[in-house]
C-alpha cells in the first residue's frame, strides 16, 4: 500500500486544525506533526503552570484480546501484566529475544482486552513482532481510526472536568476520579472516549483515545478552555527530558538492555523470579547494578547545551560514552542532558567531560527527574 511507503509522510486526523492554529509542521515518526505553535519555551512553561494539549495520534493503539493474552504478552515484556487489575496501567518494555529494548509501551487491562500504546516510529515493527510471537488464539486489533490526545499539566483535571464527560455506567467514576496509571471508558455526549490518567511530561494529566472523526471537536473544546493551549512536539521533548523520561530511539534502542537504560523499575519482582521473558538470562545477569554502562542525567556546567551524539570522554579524550538527549531546560533555565556513562561514573555528583565540536564541556551527573514529578497518585493507606 502506498500509505506504508517510508517516503510518504502521513497526515494526522487533526492536520488541518494544527495548521489553522499556526502549528509548524515537521516530519516525525512518518507523520507531519506540529513542532510548535507560539514557541517551545512559552509552550513548555504553559504546560508546567496550566495545561497543554498534545496530539499524539502518531502513536500506535493496539488491543490484544483472547484467553491468556496477559500471559502471552509476558513472554516478551518483563512487566507483571497478569497481575494488572482492571482499569490499571503499567509501563513496560518490549524485549527482543536477546533482551534488547524494541520499544517502551503502556499496557492497560480494560477488563475485556489489553490496550497498548506504543511509539509511532516503531508501531509497525512492534505489530509484526506481536504477530510473530503471540499465539494465534490472541487477536490483535490495530486501532488506526482512533486519535490520541494528551492533556497535561497541573490544571488538566480542572479543565477536563468542565467537559462534562460521563462514565459508561452511572455508578462508575468520572475521569477526574482516576489516579495516576488508572484508566476507564467514558462518554462525551454520544462520543466514546478511553481515558487514562497518564502521560509523558512528568505532570498530572490524561491521555484520551477518541474516534478520529470526532478528534477535532474534542481538541477544539479543550483548547477553548482558559487553562488549555495546544502544545507541539518541541515542548513535549523538553518536558519529558526534564521529567527524566527516556525517549525510545534516542535514550534506548535494541542495542541497550533494561538495566543499562536505568529502567530497573520495569523489571517486576515476580517476573525476575520467574525469569521467563525474552532475553531474561542476559537481562537479569545485569540486575540490579552489574551493567558496564548506565543511563544518567547530566547538568551542564555553563550555559551551552550539549546535544545527542556528543561523546563522553576520559581525561585522554577517548570516547567512553555518549549523550543521547540534550537541551535547554525552560523550567531550570539551564542545559540538561541524558547520557550513557561507565557505571563507575554513574554516581550522582560525579564530574564528567563531554566533547562537542572539539571542545570539552564539563558536566555533573544529576539525579533524575530534573524537575519533580507532579502525578496525581493514589494516596497510600
Amino acid at each position: 500500500m502506498s500509505d506504508d511507503k517510508t517516503d510518504t509522510l502521513k497526515k494526522l486526523p487533526l492536520d488541518s486544525w494544527h495548521r489553522s492554529l499556526g502549528g509548524r509542521m515537521v516530519p516525525f515518526a512518518g507523520y507531519e506533526m506540529p513542532v510548535q505553535y507560539e514557541g517551545v519555551m512559552a509552550e513548555h512553561l504553559w504546560t508546567r503552570d496550566n495545561a497543554g494539549l498534545f496530539d499524539v495520534s502518531h502513536m500506535g493503539q493496539v488491543q490484544l484480546e483472547g484467553e491468556g493474552a496477559a500471559d502471552a504478552l509476558e513472554a516478551i515484556v518483563p512487566g507483571n501484566i497478569s497481575a494488572l487489575g482492571v482499569g490499571k496501567i503499567r509501563y513496560t518494555l518490549l524485549l527482543a529475544q536477546d533482551g534488547g529494548i524494541l520499544d517502551d509501551l503502556m499496557v492497560t487491562n480494560t477488563g475485556r482486552n489489553l490496550y497498548l500504546v506504543v511509539n509511532g516510529a516503531t508501531k509497525h515493527d512492534d505489530i509484526a513482532y506481536f504477530k510473530a510471537q503471540l499465539p494465534s488464539a490472541i487477536t490483535l486489533n490495530h486501532l488506526e481510526d482512533q486519535a490520541l490526545l494528551a492533556l497535561q499539566g497541573p490544571k488538566a483535571g480542572e479543565a477536563l472536568a468542565k467537559l462534562k464527560i460521563s462514565p459508561m455506567q452511572p455508578d462508575w467514576p468520572v475521569p477526574t476520579d482516576l489516579y495516576f496509571m488508572e484508566a476507564g471508558p467514558f462518554m462525551w455526549g454520544d462520543i466514546p472516549l478511553g481515558i487514562s490518567r497518564s502521560g509523558y511530561t512528568g505532570e498530572d494529566g490524561f491521555e484520551i483515545s477518541v474516534p478520529a472523526e470526532h478528534s477535532e471537536k474534542l481538541a477544539a473544546a479543550l483548547c477553548a478552555l482558559e487553562e488549555v493551549k495546544p502544545i507541539g512536539l518541541g515542548a513535549r521533548d523538553s518536558l519529558r527530558l526534564e521529567a527524566g523520561l527516556p525517549l525510545y530511539g534516542h535514550d534506548m534502542d535494541a542495542d541497550v538492555l533494561p538495566v543499562e537504560a536505568n529502567l530497573n523499575f520495569a523489571l517486576s519482582k515476580a517476573r525476575r523470579e520467574e525469569g521467563n521473558f525474552a532475553g531474561a538470562e542476559r537481562v537479569l545477569a545485569q540486575y540490579p547494578d552489574k551493567s558496564d554502562k548506565k543511563r544518567v542525567g547530566l547538568f551542564v556546567n555553563g550555559r551551552q547545551p550539549i546535544r545527542e551524539g556528543a561523546n563522553v570522554v576520559d581525561s585522554d579524550g577517548n570516547s567512553i560514552g555518549a549523550v543521547t538527549s540534550g537541551g535547554f531546560s525552560p523550567t531550570l533555565q539551564k542545559p540538561i542532558a541524558m547520557a550513557y556513562v561507565p557505571t563507575a561514573l554513574a554516581e550522582t555528583g560525579t564530574e564528567i567531560t563531554v566533547e562537542q565540536r572539539g571542545k570539552p564541556i564539563s558536566c555533573t551527573v544529576a539525579d533524575m527527574p530534573f524537575v519533580p514529578h507532579n502525578y496525581h497518585r493514589k494516596p497510600k493507606l
Binding site: V35, Q36, G39, V40, M41, A42, H44, G234, D237, S238, R303, Q304, P305, R307, G327, F328, P330, P335, R357
Partner: protein, 123 residues
C-alpha cells in the same frame, strides 16, 4: 553603509573594510527561543563558508557560516548574558561578530534587501 544578505539567512553590514554579521529576523523566527550563542574567537581567520558561530535554541543547534572572509576583530559579548537578544533584535543589537574583510569582491555574490525579501517570500 550597505547591508547584504546570504541565502543562509545572514545579514552583513559593510562600513569601509569592516563587516558586521548577524542572522536575519526570518532566521531567528525559524530557530525559536535562542538560549546560547557560540561566537568565534577574536583574531580568528574565517574563510567564506566556514563554520563561524553556533546558535542554540531549546531544541537544536544550528551552524552559522561565515558570510564573508576576514579576520574577526570583535564579537558581541552581550550575547553571552542575553542570547535572547537574537530573538528580540536580530538585525541590530543581536549582531554576532565583526570582521575585517579580506576579499570585498565576495559581496558581489550576496543579495540586497529587496532580493533577500523576494528569496524569503519564495520559501
Amino acid at each position: 553603509m550597505s547591508r547584504y544578505f546570504t541565502d543562509e539567512h545572514e545579514w552583513v553590514d559593510v562600513e569601509g573594510e569592516t563587516a558586521t554579521v548577524g542572522i536575519t529576523d526570518y532566521a531567528q523566527e525559524q530557530l525559536g527561543d535562542i538560549v546560547f550563542v557560540e561566537t568565534p574567537e577574536t583574531g580568528a581567520e574565517l574563510a567564506q563558508g566556514d563554520d563561524a558561530a553556533v546558535v542554540e535554541s531549546v531544541k537544536a543547534a544550528s551552524d552559522v557560516y561565515a558570510a564573508v572572509s576576514g579576520t574577526v576583530v570583535e564579537v558581541n559579548d552581550a550575547l553571552e548574558d542575553e542570547p535572547a537578544l537574537v530573538n528580540s533584535s536580530a538585525e541590530e543589537d543581536g549582531w554576532f561578530f565583526r570582521v575585517t574583510l579580506s576579499d570585498k569582491s565576495e559581496l558581489d555574490d550576496l543579495m540586497d534587501e529587496k532580493a533577500y525579501k523576494a528569496f524569503v517570500d519564495g520559501l
